[in-house]
């Protein structure tokens, strides 16, 4: 793998963000609004719900963690969509880049985009609601990484669709995460779901990540079984996502979608 080439692809997106204040503001705006909204809902629940008694930040923490997933996935998708919108897709795929170099570069670039959007919002929660996600301690890093991996995996799925089906797949890029939100059990335990949906939900790493978040906040203990389960599922989905990305590239070469991108 060639670091210079991967850095080049990173620079292409870094320059884009750096030169545009509206883009930076857009990255910060939505996570901030989302977190402020959930901050007030969380405050209301903590006052009126027995379940959340004495755990003021439980919903807010889950909202922030869900936003890590949301932002990392959208950031990955956006890197592909930017190339389509700017009609630069062909230039990218005729450059001597291996697919793994593209994937690794986009993973790193998506991390930067995610952090630009989330860090200001996370900082705001402390003075506004007296809640700090950092209270999760070291497990926060493990949960963050797990969510980030799943976000990237979803990004790989959507980017594969964009490569294979072209810009018409764009709407799915935006809506894919909303489909997973109810099944991910972000704000409630899995038992709330009907039996059939519980079976599906158990196949998602999100259930274990958010269950563990609530467990840490409520009981102050870490159940590594949940974390292990989340990482195992993450690994399976990631391998599948990378495989799908390679397969979509091959299919796009057969179908000709790489030639007509940007229309």
């Amino acid at each position: 793998m060639n670091l210079n080439k991967m850095y080049g692809l990173f620079l292409r997106h870094f320059y884009l963000i750096k030169s545009s204040l509206p883009r930076v503001l857009d990255l910060i705006y939505w996570p901030t609004i989302q977190i402020i909204l959930w901050g007030f809902i969380s405050k209301f629940f903590s006052i009126y719900s027995d379940f959340y008694n004495n755990t003021l930040g439980i919903i807010l923490t889950c909202a922030i963690l869900y936003d890590i997933l949301f932002r990392s996935s959208i950031s990955f998708n956006m890197l592909f969509l930017e190339e389509i919108w700017s009609r630069n897709f062909t230039n990218l795929f005729i450059a001597p880049l291996k697919l793994k170099e593209i994937i690794i570069s986009l993973i790193f670039t998506a991390l930067i985009r995610t952090l630009i959007g989330l860090v200001p919002a996370i900082i705001l929660t402390s003075p506004l609601f007296g809640v700090s996600i950092l209270k999760l301690g070291l497990p926060l890093l493990i949960l963050f990484l797990s969510l980030y991996i799943f976000g990237i995996t979803l990004g790989l799925f959507v980017s594969s669709g964009l490569m294979r089906f072209g810009p018409s797949f764009e709407n799915i890029a935006w809506s894919s995460l909303f489909l997973l939100a109810p099944l991910g059990c972000i704000y409630y335990p899995i038992e709330i779901l009907p039996n059939f949906f519980q079976i599906i939900a158990k196949g998602l790493p999100l259930v274990y990540i958010f269950d563990e978040t609530r467990n840490i906040l409520l009981n102050g203990l870490v159940n590594y079984e949940n974390i292990k389960q989340a990482y195992l599922l993450n690994l399976i989905y990631l391998i599948f996502g990378i495989g799908l990305f390679y397969l979509s590239f091959l299919r796009a070469r057969v179908k000709g979608t790489l030639m007509n991108m940007g229309e």
Binding site: G8, L11, R87, F93, A95, P96, G256, M259
Partner: protein, 242 residues
């Protein structure tokens, strides 16, 4: 000596529709070959296959003697492409775009390379401007700079002077002539500008409905078909075949 670009019995079909049918040709070192034909005749599909964007249904593409399907990424280091239908990122400055593409092609001493391209293609006056705010002629020169940033042994040009004013078009053609002599590059030129083809190309391939229907030097084709110039040859061949 290895041939920079050799196409052997190449075909591409989309389901039942054959876009390119059993075409064979080669482009030697220091040679410009024109590829002509009406819209939809298979020129862009052929270029797409050479660039590795499309997988051929049948046949081989050899770049410097190596099959592109076997070493696509490695061979892309020796190729580059310019087309008015693809653009460089609009929000980046010219300098940023050249830096990005210089890195993607892993160019050593990139700063010197960018300075060289700026001087040759007169980019210095707008090097720090946003690419999307440039005129068509200026954008074309930037795309041209990107297309030779890796000193490709095979350069593919798809209508490189389309929508340019006569002065800029002439500048681009003169630059290509000079550059090709200096670097001994093999160039495949798809164009609808027949005067450009007559001026630049040592040989021409006429395509229609995915096949090569005639080939030769512009002079040979003009003489063979009893016409005054390539435009008349083009009209005769395409109209006779419709």
């Amino acid at each position: 000596m290895t041939i920079p670009l050799q196409i052997i019995d190449l075909s591409k079909a989309y389901d039942a529709k054959e876009a390119v049918r059993n075409i064979s040709f080669k482009v030697n070192e220091n040679e410009i070959i024109g590829i002509l034909g009406p819209n939809g005749c298979g020129k862009t599909t052929t270029i797409g296959m050479i660039l590795g964007l499309l997988k051929p249904t049948k046949g081989k593409i050899l770049i410097n003697g190596i099959e592109i399907e076997k070493q696509r990424v490695k061979l892309l280091n020796n190729l580059n492409f310019i087309s008015p239908y693809i653009e460089l990122p609009k929000k980046l400055t010219v300098k940023q775009n050249l830096e990005v593409y210089g890195r993607l092609y892993d160019i050593k001493e990139l700063r010197n390379k960018i300075d060289y391209l700026c001087e040759k293609l007169r980019l210095n006056e707008f090097i720090n401007k946003i690419t999307g705010e440039l005129s068509s002629g200026q954008k074309n020169r930037v795309s041209l700079a990107k297309s030779i940033i890796n000193d490709p042994s095979v350069l593919l040009l798809d209508e490189p002077t389309a929508s340019l004013d006569p002065e800029t078009g002439d500048f681009v053609r003169s630059f290509l002539e000079e550059y090709q002599k200096e670097k001994r590059t093999s160039i495949l030129l798809a164009s609808h500008n027949m005067a450009e083809v007559e001026r630049l190309c040592s040989s021409v391939l006429m395509m229609n409905k995915g096949s090569i229907i005639d080939q030769g030097t512009p002079q040979e084709l003009i003489k063979k078909h009893g016409r005054r110039n390539m435009e008349e040859v083009f009209l005769k061949l395409t109209r006779n075949l419709i």
